[in-house]
Structures are given as C-alpha cells and as structure tokens.
Amino acid sequence: MRDRQGRGGSRLPRPFLALLLAAFAPTQAHAQERFVNIGNLADYDFGQITNLSADQLLARDLCVYSAKTTPGYSVRASGSGTGGAFTLAGGGSTLGYEVQWSALAGRTTGTILQPNVVLSGLRTSAIQQNCNNGPTASASLIVVLRATSLQTALSGTYSGTLTIIVGAE
C-alpha cells in the first residue's frame, strides 16, 4: 500500500506538471527582472588640500546593472552627517560636500543629488551585474568639496561614509 502511494506521488499527470511550471516560471522571471546591482565602488581620498580657494573634485566610475529588459534604475544617496547630510566629520568641525551622479561612465559632472532624495529615470548600459562583460563601468559618482566649504572648515582630517542605494525602475 505504501509502495503504491509512493509511486503514485511521483507520477503526477504531465498536464498538471506543465500547469505548475507555467504558473511559477513567469513569476520567477518577473522577480529577477526587477533585480539591480551596484558594484565596483571605491573610496574617495582627497589627501591634504592646500588650495582652499579652488573646488576639489573626485570622480569615479562604477557599475550599475539592471536586469530589466529596459534597464532603468533610480539612485538615492545619504551621507553620514545628521539626517543623512553630506558632511565629513573631524578637525573640530564638519566639512560639507556635494554629490553628483551621471548615468554614463567617465564623467566629471552629473546631476546634483540631495540627501535621501531619489533621482529616477536613469538607464544603464551594463549587461552583466559586475560589468565583467560589456561595458566595464556604467555610471559616474562625483564628489565635490566646494571652496566655500573648505574655507569654512577648520584645518584637520575629515572622514565620512556615503551610501548609495539603487532600485529597479
């Protein structure tokens, strides 16, 4: 009796199996299509800044991948200052900075991001989640220390963390 039940469990009618597959397969594909990834991020080290009369800028390429057929994404940034402010701490004061984003690699200018405010309508050229194939980078993250901020800050060493969150669109 147990044997029959066991064999019977593995012998589902083929039409029923096909229905099961048809029911689950599109859902899984749909979920994967909403996946995004941000990678190839690197730290920003401005070193010692001696010219406080000029803006200081560091731009780095990174990889943003979207699995969607139309690979759209949004980006949101927050700093380690109060309320996510883009400020570095240290030196007895804070040092404000500006964050810009470009949906193209190799850029030194982009759209200015506000802390915790989503920038949407972006499109990526990456075809692999870590940019191992196709374009090696797909976006630019630019950090700017404005001269006005440099002149406001006291001398010393400053540090902070910038967090970037991308979402599928």
Binding site: R34, I49, G91, S155, S159
Partner: protein, 190 residues
C-alpha cells in the same frame, strides 16, 4: 604532525582572525568601500577622506598717510584689518618688517635722514593701541574671530594695526618733503 602540534596550529588558526579583528577595531580603522548585491534594491557605500591644511589670510589693509601734521605732538593711525585663520582656535602669529636699513620701520625721503615710526598690533578690531612689534620679531598666540578669509561673512574686521610717529621723529622731518616707506605684515597659522 603530532597531536600536540596539530592542536596548537588549530588554536592559532582560530585566534589569528580574532586578533586581527581586535587590532583593526583598536586602531579605529574606517571601513572601506562596500559593494552591493543583486536584489530589488542594491546598496553600496564609499569612504570619503580629506585633510584641510592650516591656512591664514590678511586683508583689508589700507595705506597710512600723515599729512600736514603738527610736529609738536605725536600722531597715530589705527586701522581695522581682517586676519582669518582656519586652525583650531583660529590662532595665528604675525611678523612685521619695514623697508629701512635692516628692515627697520623707517620712512625715507631721498637723501634726507630717514625717520622712525612704530607699529602696534591688536588681535581685536576697533582698538587704538596694541602690542608693540619689533621688526622681524614674531608676535605669537594671536587668535581671530573671522570666519571667512576676507571677512566677507561674519565679523567684517578682526584686528587693529596701529602706526605711530612720536614728536621727536616728526621734528626731524624736513617741512615740505615727502617721506614714504613700506610696512610688510606676514601672518602664519599657529
């Protein structure tokens, strides 16, 4: 490997990562960039480091003119200037020098005998007297209220420069002759 060696190596293998973690935490090493992972959202972060050098600036200086003065009594000119410093406590030091012989504070008029003047510095604005400066000698431990390099915002002035001529030197000047000299002020972060 004998059993004792194996146990020692095994314990060492477990302790080394812990020791490295503790050493990193003790050193206060900041975390480096983190990469995102594939998902409906993906989060990465970067560390931003910068070091701002100590800097100062002196500005708002104007020329000093003593015109048609009465040689019977001393004269002075006090002017407010802006000295900005970005060091902790906004501290600075100042050194003055003239363009006379040996950088003396003197005014010259061709072949006529140069006459002396004196210089005083006050770290506060709006003052008519201050610490006497000797040429080439640094006056240290000054601090400023200025928050912008040229006092464009915050206090509009932060220090006082006072130039004096006493009656004796005025009486050594030839009437009708024009005397001139350059006073140079150097400020440095402290």
């Amino acid at each position: 490997m004998v059993l004792g060696e194996y146990m020692f190596a095994n314990r060492l293998a477990r302790l080394v990562p812990v020791a490295l973690l503790l050493a990193t935490a003790a050193a206060g090493t900041a975390q480096a960039a983190t990469q995102g992972s594939l998902g409906t959202t993906s989060t990465g972060s970067v560390l931003i480091n910068a070091s701002v050098a100590g800097r100062v600036q002196i500005s708002g200086l104007t020329n000093v003119t003593f015109a048609d003065v009465d040689a019977g009594s001393a004269v002075f000119n006090a002017q407010d200037v802006c000295v900005w410093s970005n060091t902790a406590g906004r501290k600075y030091k100042i050194t003055a020098s003239g363009d006379g012989s040996g950088n003396a504070f003197t005014l010259a008029s061709g072949a006529l005998t140069p006459v002396n003047y004196t210089v005083e510095w006050n770290k506060a604005a709006g003052q008519n007297s201050g610490a006497a400066l000797a040429t080439g000698v640094t006056l240290a431990s000054q601090d400023s209220l200025a928050t912008a390099p040229t006092c464009a915002s915050g206090p509009t002035k932060s220090a006082s420069l006072i130039v004096r001529m006493d009656a004796a030197n005025l009486q050594n000047m030839q009437a009708g002759a024009t005397y001139a000299g350059t006073l140079t002020l150097v400020v440095a972060p402290e």
